[in-house]
Subunit: 426 residues, 2 copies
C-alpha cells in the first residue's frame, strides 16, 4: 500500500474498503490489550518454586539469619546476583526490596533534596534543575522527574542510543542539566541496544558536566534476550572507571521480569562514593530489605548457569509474540512509509511510529475496535509527543492468538487513519 | 541501699565493695547485648512455615494473581489483616512492603515536601516546621524529622501518655507545630499505654491545630501483650471520626515483630482524604508492594483466632526475660531512689531512669564490663537527654540466663555510679 502517488479516487476507494473492514472487526466486540509491559502468567509460573525453596533453612551461606532486622545493603549473595546481572563488583551493589522504580525514586530524591554528597550537593540548591530524557522513553522515569519538579528536556533516540552529538552540545550549553535517563539495552520502548561508541561517550559526559551530574542507567532488560547470540552491551561501569567518571553513572536492575513481577529483588549499582551517599539517606528510610526473599532468589539461581537457562525459557514464551507483531508490521508497512519500527531482539516492547499526527487517532480507533494500546504520548515527558506519532506495543501478556488478532486491528487502524489523513491533505 | 543519709565513710566503704565486684565481673570478659529491640531467633522461628505456605497457589481469594505487577493498596485480604490489627475499616488501610518505618518516612516526606492535600498543603511551604516528640521516645522517629529538617520539640511522657496539658498549650501557642509522634501502646521505651482520656484529647487536637496537623500514630505493639487480660487502647480512629478530626491522625503497624522481622507486611491506616493524598505520591514511587508475601501472611493467619494464639507464643518467650529485668530492678532499687522504671506489660522495652547525670556513665561502665546498652540519649531528639538519665533496656534477644547475667552487671553499674556521684556531692 503506497499512498504517495495515489489519486483522490484511489484513496476514496481504499478508505471505503478499510472502513468496511473496520466495521466488521468492531462487530466482533473484541477485548484485547497491548498496553502492559509485564510478564504473562505463563512467564511468572516459571518461578513458582520460589515459595518453599528455603525448606526451613533461613540462614544464608554467609551466615546471616535472614528472618531478623538489619543489613541495609542486602545479603552478600543477593548483591552477587545483582553484580552478575549488571557486570560490576558485588561491593558496588546494594540489593534492595521489590522495586527498582522505588530505588530510582529514592536515588533521585536523595540527589535532588538531601544530596548524594552532603547537603550542599543537593540539586535543588540551584534555581533550575533539568534532566535529559531520550524520547521515546519510559513514562515512569519521566513521572519521577515530574514528581520532584525537575524540568525535562528531550533528546531524540537513534538506532545506537540517544543522539550523543545533541547530548554533548546541550550539556556544554546548560549547566543546569543534572542527569539523563537511560535504558541502555532493549530500550523502552524502541528496543535499541546502545552502541559501544554511545556507551563510551556517555562515560565521558561526567567530564563535560559538573560534579552533580548523574546518568540514571536503568538496565531493566540486561539479560532479557530473545536471540541466542545477543549483541553485548558495553560495560559502563568499566568505561567510567577508565574515564575517571565513576560517580557520574548509577545503575539499576531487578528480577521483576525474571521471577515474579513486583515480588522480586531490585538492585542499585554505583561508585563507592555514590553508594555511601545513598546509604546515608536510606538508613533514615528503612532498617533493611526483605532478606528472606533475597535468599529465596539466591537459592533459585544457585546452580551455575541456571539464570541463563531461566531467561531462555522466558524467551521461548515471548518470541512468538514478538514475531507476530513484526510479521504484521512487515506485511502491512514493509513496502511503504505509513509506519516505522525497530526489530527488537529483546526486552518487552516494539515501538511504532505512524505518520506525524496520527498516533492519538490510531489509539482511539483501536480502542473503539476493542484493542487497548498504551496512550499516545505516554512515551514522552508530560505525555506530549510533539509529532503525535509514537505508539508503544507491548505484546507479552496476551496469547499468541490474541496478539495476532490485536495486530490485525492495529495495522488496519494505522492504514485507515493514514488514508483519511492523505485524503484530507490531497 | 539508701544513699541519702549515708555518711562519707559508709559511701567510701560501699564504693570499695562495689568497685571490687565490678573488677570481678570485668575479669569474666562477658559479651552481652541489651540494645536491640528485635525478636529472638526463637521468636522468628514461630513463623518458619511462611515459606512454602502457598503450596503453589498464588491466587488470592479475591482472585488476584499475586505474582504480577499492580495494586498500590495491597491485596484486599492483607488490608483486612491490617484493619484487624489497627481496629479500622479495611478500606482505610494500605498494605505495603516490609517496613512501617519506610511508610512513615514516605508519609512524612509527602506531607512535608509534596503535600498530602495538594502541593500547597506541603509543610515546607512555611518558613518553620516543628514536630512534637514525647520523650523518652523512639530514635528512628526522631531521625525521620532530622532527615527532613523538621525541628523537634519535646514534651514529657507520663504514665498515661504524653503530657496533654503541655501538648495543648504548645499547639495553641505555636502554629508551626505540624504533628506529633506517638507509640500509643507499650510506648517505646516507657511501655506506657495511653489512657482513654489521652486518646480522646489527642483526637481533639485537630481542632486546636490547623488543617495540616498530623499525629503519626505508630501502633507498633498493638497486639504485643505479655498478660492475658491486657489493658485495651481506646480506638483513635473512632474517636477522631466522632470529633470530626479524621484527617489529623495517621496510623501505622507491621508484622515485623509478629512474623519475620524485616520480611513482613507494613500497614498505614488513614482517612479517605489522607489515603488518597498519600497514594497519589506513592504511585510515583512504586508500582505496588510484594503481594506474594502479603498472601503468605494472609494464609498464615487465615484461621480464626490464629493471630492471637501466635502472639501468646511470643509472650511466653518474652515474659521470663521481662520478669528477669524487673526482678533485678526491684531487688536493687525497689527500696531506694537510685532508679525509676515502669512495669511494662507488653512491647519490647523497659525504660530506666538513673539519678540525673548518670546515664552516660552507666552505659560506659556496662560496656567496659562487656554489656552493651542502647547509647545514652538515644531516646531523645538529636541524641540529647538533658537530664542524662534515661536508658532503654531491650531484653528480647538474649537468653533468659544472659538477661539475668547482664542485669546483674547493669544494677551494679547503676549502684557504683550513684555512689560515686554521692561521694562527689558529699
Amino acid at each position: 500500500m503506497n499512498l504517495t502517488n495515489a489519486s483522490q479516487e484511489q484513496l476514496q476507494n481504499l478508505e471505503q474498503t478499510l472502513a468496511a473492514e473496520f466495521s466488521t472487526i468492531k462487530a466482533k466486540n473484541l477485548s484485547l490489550d497491548l498496553t502492559r509491559g509485564k510478564p504473562s502468567a505463563e512467564q511468572v509460573s516459571l518461578s513458582d518454586s520460589l515459595d518453599g525453596i528455603l525448606k526451613g533453612n533461613y540462614t544464608s551461606k554467609s551466615g546471616i539469619d535472614v528472618r531478623n532486622y538489619g543489613g541495609l545493603e542486602g545479603i552478600p549473595e543477593a548483591r552477587e546476583l545483582g553484580a552478575s546481572i549488571l557486570g560490576v563488583p558485588a561491593s558496588n551493589v546494594l540489593a534492595g526490596g521489590n522495586s527498582s522504580l522505588t530505588l530510582m525514586h529514592q536515588v533521585m530524591t536523595v540527589a535532588h533534596i538531601f544530596g548524594l554528597n552532603g547537603p550542599e550537593s543537593a540539586w535543588n540548591k540551584q534555581s533550575s534543575v533539568k534532566f535529559l530524557c531520550p524520547v521515546p522513553g519510559y513514562d515512569r522515569h519521566f513521572s519521577v522527574c515530574e514528581h520532584l519538579g525537575i524540568e525535562m528536556v528531550t533528546v531524540p533516540m537513534t538506532s545506537t542510543g540517544p543522539d550523543m552529538d545533541k547530548v554533548e552540545e546541550m550539556l556544554k550549553a546548560d549547566s543546569s542539566i543534572k542527569g539523563m535517563w537511560c535504558v541502555p539495552k532493549y530500550s523502552n520502548p524502541t528496543g535499541v541496544i546502545y552502541s559501544d561508541e554511545t556507551v563510551e561517550r556517555i562515560a565521558q559526559l561526567g567530564k563535560i558536566a559538573g560534579d552533580g551530574f548523574r546518568v540514571m542507567w536503568d538496565n531493566a532488560y540486561a539479560i532479557h534476550d530473545l536471540t541466542d547470540n545477543p549483541v553485548q552491551l558495553a560495560n559502563i561501569f568499566e568505561a567510567c572507571a577508565k574515564a575517571g567518571t565513576e560517580d557520574s553513572v548509577i545503575q539499576f536492575a531487578s528480577t521483576s521480569k525474571i521471577t515474579h513481577a513486583g515480588s522480586g529483588v531490585a538492585f542499585v549499582a554505583a561508585s563507592d562514593a555514590n553508594l555511601a551517599g545513598f546509604k546515608k539517606s536510606l538508613g533514615f528510610i528503612t532498617i533493611g530489605p526483605d532478606k528472606v526473599n533475597q535468599l529465596r532468589h539466591v537459592n533459585f539461581f544457585a546452580e551455575e548457569g541456571s539464570l541463563n537457562a531461566h531467561m531462555k525459557k522466558h524467551a521461548e514464551i515471548i518470541k512468538p509474540r514478538f514475531a507476530s507483531v513484526l510479521k504484521h508490521l512487515e506485511e502491512a508497512f514493509g513496502d511503504n512509509d505509513l509506519g516505522a519500527w525497530e526489530s527488537a531482539e529483546g526486552g518487552y516492547f516494539i515501538s511504532f511510529d505512524t505518520r506525524p499526527g496520527l498516533a492519538q487517532e490510531v489509539v482511539d480507533m483501536a480502542d473503539e475496535a476493542g484493542v487497548k494500546l498504551t496512550p499516545a504520548g505516554a512515551t514522552f515527558p508530560y505525555g506530549n509527543d510533539p509529532q503525535d506519532s509514537n505508539i508503544r506495543i507491548a505484546p507479552t501478556v496476551p496469547t499468541v492468538e490474541q496478539v495476532d488478532e490485536a495486530m490485525q486491528v492495529f495495522v488496519l487502524c494505522v492504514k485507515l487513519a493514514s488514508v483519511r489523513q492523505a485524503l484530507k491533505n490531497a
